[in-house]
Amino acid sequence: MENPENVIEVRNLQIDFHTYAGEVKAIRDVSFDLRKGETLAIVGESGSGKSVTTRSLMGLLAPNAVIKGGSIMFHGDDIIKKSEKEMQHIRGKDIAMIFQDPMTSLDPTMRIGMQIAEPLMKHKGLKKKEAISQALEMLKLVGITDPEARLNDYPYQFSGGMRQRIVIAIALVCYPEVLIADEPTTALDVTIQAQILDLMKDLQNRIDTSIIFITHDLGVVAGMADRVAVMYAGKIVEYGTVDEIFFNPQHPYTWGLLNSMPTLNTAGGSLRAIPGTPPDLLDPPVGDAFAARSDYAMKIDTEKEPPFFKVSDTHYAATWLLHPDAPKVTPPAEIVRRQKKFAEMQRPEPPIKNTTKE
């Protein structure tokens, strides 16, 4: 481990998929760290590689996936080099995962009490009775009402939100060091989503888990993340603290994402959609992959891939706009508004004048 604060270090990860059409370059040189106790959000559109990245952490890639290079360090070992058998000891115990669809991630023929107890029996060698009693505690923790009675119910007897609570209970029952949440609330209603997100934050504080949170919902990211990585076409194009990404974004793709969402304050007129569609990763474009959809593309964007430019110690963006020789551009109005706010947030608090007399 390069940094003792890190739980996971991913370096130069490259993953291809063999398909009939050819090699799909799904992950193209991705590096990131996950720090102890933090929530790292990975945002991006479908096909940007966010799910593939995290599945590789779990050793759950599809059979046609090939890891072309890179390393995933966890506890000083490279996960990529581990056998399936070794992964089975890590999966569900040290690294757990919550999937998007609570309808399909539970076993429909198994009572939910047993499903929650299973990892305890498997990883911690608990007896069934003991495991079930811990499962009951977990059910209470995730806020299922009347847990004793519901222990013996099957998944179909629960609503979507309740099922996702059960999935969370299964994922957290072994107190994993890392929790990967892949769009955990996308299938849920907003009020239920808010409850599940609060629950995840609460449980994170209690058991000190590091969370990798994958989502395309920037509103959810704003509420959950400590740090954010923005992915596009198999690469991370920008990363920084949540404030840096939302209030001082640098990459035109991040601008586009923030710009295309209506907020509750957005007035009429048309939304600023990002034109076009993401590139085909069978044959990734040369240079900046977002150039074809960007209003800010320059000649060099189609010729040479931009390296990461440093914005601050915690904030990096891969766009030629940050090159010292690049022309100064004005971001979209919404981004300018956000950057203004960022500047205000950075300004040191004015010294408090002592006007009150004792």
Partner: protein
């Protein structure tokens, strides 16, 4: 609200029950009434199970309503007896579905999917006209005519949703029910589809019933909004007003749960809980117009409370009951 505007759809006391009379009777839509004016977008929001989709389906007559009246363009939908009348109704009202993967027949070419309505209603003079219409429609929704001989699997989610929109537009409808049309799409693509729908609305004078759970998008696209919960509409009003000054406790709770892409806002967010038992006290409730065009489902003794809220919010200036 401008009362002189023409009501294109009137829903009176719509009830849609399933398993009627059995122990597992479900009152999916329970006494729902609202009007939609020509050329507007009416957003129907609610959580899953609130009955919003069922209401949409009952309106387009995919279900036989248990009770109530649906009046479309002056005619009672359940009293359309002749084949010609039913045909006409089905041409004038169209639907766009949520899942662009499940709603397009994978074994049909795009041109046949789009032209299905044209064929059924005999809207094309000959083959050349049919092809021309399909190509024009594809162009209207931002695809190109080369796409017409392809199959749905060759398209991305956003493109498929455009095909679904082209299919709905093919029969020149007046009224489109869009049931979660963007929920399955990526953020950047959602904006494209919403912009397209808005553009088409102006060009072709369409009226939309926009059903969704994404409140920020519904607010953005809708002129007026109805909030559904447990089969009932709890609040109806102008979109901006419902969002900035919700009167019903459920609406307040729903809006407070919407995540906002602003970390500072999120850090200070206070979610308002909602006590569901309040609705189940057996009091008689009806829709009461608290502020102009702003209705809340209330019992008689709750009216003063809502009126006070409306006064506090500046929606009404004086007691006018």
């Amino acid at each position: 609200m401008p009362e002189e505007r023409k009501k294109i759809l009137e829903v009176h006391h719509l009830k849609q029950y399933f398993n009627v009379g059995k122990r597992d009777e479900v009152r999916a839509v329970d006494d729902v009434s609202f009007d939609i004016y020509e050329g507007e977008t009416f957003g129907l929001v609610g959580e899953s199970g609130s009955g919003k989709t069922t209401a949409g389906r009952a309106i387009i007559h995919l279900y036989e309503p248990t009770d109530g009246e649906i009046i479309f363009d002056g005619k009672d939908v359940s009293k359309l007896h002749t084949k010609a009348e039913k045909h006409e109704f089905r041409r004038e009202m169209q639907m766009i579905f949520q899942d662009p993967y499940a709603s397009l027949n994978p074994r049909m070419k795009v041109k046949d999917i789009v032209a299905e309505g044209i064929d059924i209603h005999g809207l094309a003079k000959d083959d050349a006209d049919r092809t021309k219409q399909v190509e024009d429609l594809l162009e209207t929704v931002g695809l190109n005519k080369d796409h017409s001989s392809r199959y749905p699997h060759e398209f991305s989610g956003g493109q498929r949703q455009r095909i679904g929109i082209a299919r709905a537009l093919a029969v020149e409808p007046k009224f489109i029910i869009a049931d979660e049309p963007i929920s399955a799409l990526d953020v950047s693509i959602q904006a494209q589809v919403v912009n397209l729908m808005k553009e088409l609305q102006v060009k072709q004078n369409l009226t939309y019933l926009f059903i969704a759970h994404d409140l920020s998008m519904v607010k953005y696209i809708s002129d007026r909004i109805g909030v559904m919960h447990y089969g009932k509409i709890l609040e109806i009003g102008p979109a901006d007003e419902v969002y900035t000054h919700p009167l019903h406790a459920y609406t307040k709770s729903l809006i407070s749960a919407v995540p906002v892409p602003d970390p500072e806002f999120e850090r200070n967010r206070k979610q308002v809980p909602y006590d569901e038992s309040r609705e189940k006290d057996d009091k008689k409730r009806r829709m009461v117009e608290i502020a102009p065009g702003h209705f809340v489902r209330a019992s008689e003794d709750e009216v003063p409370m809502y009126t006070q809220r409306a006064i506090d919010a500046g929606l009404v200036t004086e007691f006018s009951e």
